[in-house]
Amino acid sequence: MARYRVFYLFMLPGLLYFVLFHYLPMLGLRWAFFDYDLRGVGDFVSFEHFSAAFASDGFRRAFRNTLILSSLNIVIQMTAIIVISLLLNEIRTVGFKRVVQTIIYLPHFLSWVVVGSLFTLLLSRQGGLVNALIEGAGGKSIYFFGEPSWWRVIYLMILSWREVGWGTVIFLAALSGIDPQLYEAAWMDGANRWRQMWYVTLPHLVPVIVIVLIMNLAKIFNLFESVFVLYNPLVYSVGDVIQTYVYRSGLKEFRFGYATAVGLFRSVIAFALVLSANRLTRKISGEAAV
């Protein structure tokens, strides 16, 4: 045992980290069942916060928006990622392909604040490129971030701007793994490029598509920082999601108990989704993806 003591010492800081910032907060989940606000911890209220949440318009709106934005985002992004991967894979000029890849991966590494700033400036009504073009064409400038009808479109476009390029990495890896002999065989059988794409490439992509789709579904309740940076009170009706709702109820209105309850509800669903996603992918690919 003495031989191992030093290893436990090495692991102590990490252990402390897990205990302090992951397991102590888990104990704090009990506040979901208590009255707890700025006046301090009050009575045990059992599931009252949960029923209050399910009955409140704010929570239902946030829940609905989370589902709508997440599912639209998955459909749009997956389509764009697959199309761009397939087309990028057809490019035979190695240098050009590499330049395109380098550029489209970049936005993924910019913070949401930077991305939000870029588009705030681009879409601004004072000197923003897009509105300048609209006005130049004789149109009226649009407050893209302030109009609910525009916000959802703009938000989804910005999400795609940041993530689609990066999303192609895994598909390009899968595409480069396809045996070239299969294409030769298809060619000998008289299949043109489109048929090769349809009968050789796509079937090989299906497992990757399914796994990426499942993992994205597991993360539908994770929407947060992108919304936090891009939304404002004018567009709560379409933009408020569960995480931003938890933030405002907990840290702006100081309803700690209530916000913990809503957060717990979210954590439990997210947990169930991740576990089922893992089980599904294990069934499909033989390994867990987390």
């Binding site: 030093v6 907060p25 400036l121 004072q126 990495v169 993360k219």
Partner: protein
């Protein structure tokens, strides 16, 4: 003859496809680049407000950057960002690699339990409010310790690193021990040097994380805004258009915004070649992380 006909027909449509495909890829690249280029070019242009989009500034200037470099209110957040990125990455790398080294000991009693302690945090988190309440209770509110510690280890990188360590041949470790190396000596002189690629990759993950960190500052540093980093500053300047404290710069607010965005992208751009190399490698190893 039939074959020849088919070949020439294929080559014509092939050429058409190549042209169309390359054009489309150029369009994608343009969509990615325009928001960034517009801001970057305008930041150097004294007369940016007079043009919609120019590739070459009409009247080159570094004024906006001079203003940032001369005003403490503007460069302090940048220095805070640099400081927390360096210190945070150091803390994270230390904690993570020591914990990973312990986990990589095949015969360490309790190692499975410690592994599960880490794994659980990947699929279940207590959420924002319980974590906030713990940080407050620990007395870390309004200190940089909060932003440096709350996310100082990522279980996912921990596992990557552990896997890296376990691939080091047993014989090398045994040889070091026979030569009189203590566990710490073996770690520093044998294990770490042999894991350089893995350490570099994870170090870069952490650097990007700390540089882009934003929300933790919003919730944990409320009463001492002088500790806010550049991301928080950028958000309040560009997105919330809060120009308090920058009185006297009204003439240049727009170019100041542009320059601030560029200043916060620049470090990411400098690291990007390395980041791309390692991140893409990481993702190709089957590691998928959003």
């Amino acid at each position: 003859m039939g074959v020849e006909l088919k070949l020439s027909k294929e080559s014509v449509s092939r050429k058409l496809f190549v042209v169309a495909n390359s054009t489309l890829m150029l369009a994608v690249v343009t969509v990615i680049l325009v928001p960034v280029l517009k801001v970057a070019i305008d930041s150097f242009d004294q007369r940016a407000s007079e043009t919609v989009f120019r590739v070459i500034p009409r009247e080159f200037t570094l004024d906006a950057y001079r203003v940032i470099a001369s005003r403490a209110a503007l460069y302090r957040p940048f220095l805070i960002s640099l400081f927390t990125t360096v210190v945070g990455t150091t803390i994270s790398m230390t904690i993570t690699s020591f914990f990973a080294y312990g986990l990589a000991q095949r015969d360490l009693p309790g190692r499975t339990l410690l592994l599960y302690l880490a794994l659980v945090t990947m699929v279940f988190r207590a959420g924002m409010i319980p974590l906030f309440l713990v940080v407050r209770k620990l007395g870390l509110m309004n200190t940089l310790w909060a932003v440096l510690l709350v996310h100082s280890m990522d279980a996912y990188y921990l596992l990557l690193l552990r896997n890296f360590f376990t691939t080091i041949p047993r014989s090398i470790l045994d040889a070091a021990e026979i030569d009189g190396c203590s566990p710490l000596g073996t770690f520093v002189r044998v294990v770490l040097p042999l894991s350089r690629p893995g350490l570099a990759a994870i170090g870069l993950f952490y650097v990007v994380f700390y540089w882009n960190q934003f929300f933790d500052y919003i919730i944990y540093i409320q009463t001492r805004p002088q500790l806010h980093n550049f991301q928080v500053f950028l958000r309040s300047l560009v997105i919330e258009t809060n120009t308090q404290g920058f009185e006297g710069f009204a003439f240049a607010t727009q170019s100041l915004k542009n320059a601030a965005v560029v200043a916060s992208i620049l470090p990411v751009l400098i690291l990007y070649p390395f980041v791309q190399k390692y991140f893409v490698k990481g993702i190709n190893l089957g590691a998928i992380k959003g």
